[in-house]
Amino acid sequence: MTLSVPLEPMPPTADWRDRLPTEGDRYAYGFLDEGAKREIRRKLLKAVAIPGCQVAFGSREMPIARGWGTGGLQLTLALIGPQDVLKVIDQGADDSVNAVNIKRFVKRVTDAALTTDTAAATLIQTRHRIPEEPLRPHQVLVFQVPIPEPLRLVEPSERTTRRMHAEADYSRMWLYLYEDIVKFKAITVGARYPVMVNRRHLMDPSPIPRWDVPKLNRGEALLLFCAGREKRIYAVPPHTRVEPLAFEDFAFRVEAFDDRRCERCGATTTFLDEVVDDKTGRRVYSCSDTAFCDKIRRRGDRETPSPEEKRG
């Protein structure tokens, strides 16, 4: 609910305030000016041509704060058109306040349709999760990225990490993982697990859980990543090899849910959120992908989605 500000009737004397544009004629379709859209699209092409390689771009300031999805938003607005159907999720949920805010904005500056159904979307903007339903060739997944640089864990200087990527010098990342194993007998990296794309570029898949990392490999949809504050775009085109860094004797591991299931729909094969129940103090689990969870529930008491659901 927006509280719109009540106005005084305009005074008769004309002054500079009368000549200010209305919001309608101030902004282009999709808020961004045409020059910005052109730059973003060109940089996207370059990113797609070199899978996993970070491409610098002139990131614009947006009406939402840096760190809150300005990168993802710029890609969405540069790509979206009247035929598109947009889904926005945050941590897997369509109705999280941040996702709602972003959708509100896109609605205000475009005439694209909105949806919560992954299968019906042409464009999906996501923060920190990949939807459970496999994506199809005509779909585009836009990731919000806080820190695009996978080497930031071992090297704070941008100048140095640029050189490391150019020379494919990733030994310090490997050394970090090796030392983890020496100290803790396991790799302790949680989300933002470093992956090798197309056997050439080390990439940060954004803070998706390890659970979602295998979905990046040889998918059918176009995956686009953008960091607004850090001003970088990168991409994984369909059918591209994306492999998490692992050792021959220490394989990559996803999060363990043991034999827990979703309290709402009964699923045992989705990523689960842990919540402490208000009244009982009990630990309760439910699907992070809320739209998927709802789908299963609507189909009745089914533990796993039907093949049609998986195909969409």
Partner: protein, 287 residues
């Protein structure tokens, strides 16, 4: 016998340079710095060869350019001029995927290729462990870094190789997972040596490795180097200002002063019967 290493006219200049630099600097002039343009020539047109299995000494005082030569060969920084060739085709190299063309000037290669050559064919030990080791990374991790760079991806195998190397260099294997900053100076040098040998290098560079250590510790490290060298037969360059080290380890020696080689020959001969007045001064002033 063909040399494994050839260096021609190796030069490193700090400063803008001018046509008079070479003439106005060097051992004859007795200065490193050009009086015209104030540039410093750390080494001037240095040329030498290194033969298989040989241990070559480079001796001189501070400012002679001896460390500069070795660091240039290790690609630590870029030369101003000169050529560097490695001919390893005569040597059996285990897992020799990395082919080096003897006719190729290695300084002209890309940073990517230089790094590969450095990691897989060379090893270096610095005077200061801080330069050669990551002090906060475990001793085993320091060794593993070079293996990782060479493409190893099996933690167990890397740990076994690291343990072997540490045993060879007399570092207690029980301390393999500790960071070297807790080690004594002598042990840090031994970890450096283990790290240098990790990828079975064809060329070993030792830059003042015992300077700054206690005398008894020095002796132990030198003994270790000597026995390793005899066992592995790696072509080695030993940089030192200490004639005792030169006498103990090397078969041939270059004497440097103000960036230039003033004398070269068999180590025994140089130490017994030095020809150049500067070498004579050096030998006579040794305790």
């Amino acid at each position: 016998m063909k040399p494994v290493l050839q260096v021609c006219h190796l030069t490193k200049r700090y400063g803008p340079g001018c046509p008079a630099c070479l003439d106005l600097t060097g051992a004859v002039r007795g200065v490193n710095q050009c009086p015209r343009c104030r540039s410093v020539l750390a080494c001037r047109e240095v040329s030498f060869d290194l033969y298989p299995n040989e241990v070559l000494g480079i001796v001189g005082e501070s400012g002679s350019g001896k460390s500069t030569v070795v660091r240039l060969l290790h690609f630590d920084f870029e030369p101003t001029g000169g050529r560097f060739h490695l001919n390893l085709n005569g040597n059996p190299i285990p897992g020799g995927e990395l082919q080096i063309d003897p006719a190729q000037n290695l300084f002209a290669l890309s940073a990517f290729h230089r790094r590969r050559i450095r990691n897989e064919r060379m090893g270096i030990v610095y005077q200061n462990a801080r330069m050669g080791l990551r002090l906060k990374v475990s001793a085993g991790g320091n060794i593993a870094e070079r293996l990782l760079m060479a493409g190893w991806r099996h933690v167990g195998k890397m740990q076994r190789r690291a343990a072997n190397l540490l045993a060879q260099t007399e570092v207690p294997v029980a301390r393999m997972n500790e960071p070297p900053r807790n080690f004594s100076g002598g042990m840090q040098q031994r970890v450096q040596i283990a790290k240098a040998l990790a990828t079975r290098p064809a060329l070993l560079l030792l830059d003042e490795v015992t300077t700054g250590l206690d005398v008894s510790v020095q002796a132990r490290v030198l003994d270790l180097i000597r026995s390793l060298q005899q066992e592995l037969g790696v072509a080695t360059i030993v940089v030192s200002h200490d004639l005792g080290v030169i006498r103990l380890l090397t078969s041939r020696t270059l004497v440097m002063r103000f960036g230039t080689i003033v004398e070269s020959g068999l180590s025994d001969q140089i130490l017994e019967d030095p020809q150049h007045p500067y070498t004579q001064l050096l030998v006579n002033s040794a305790l």
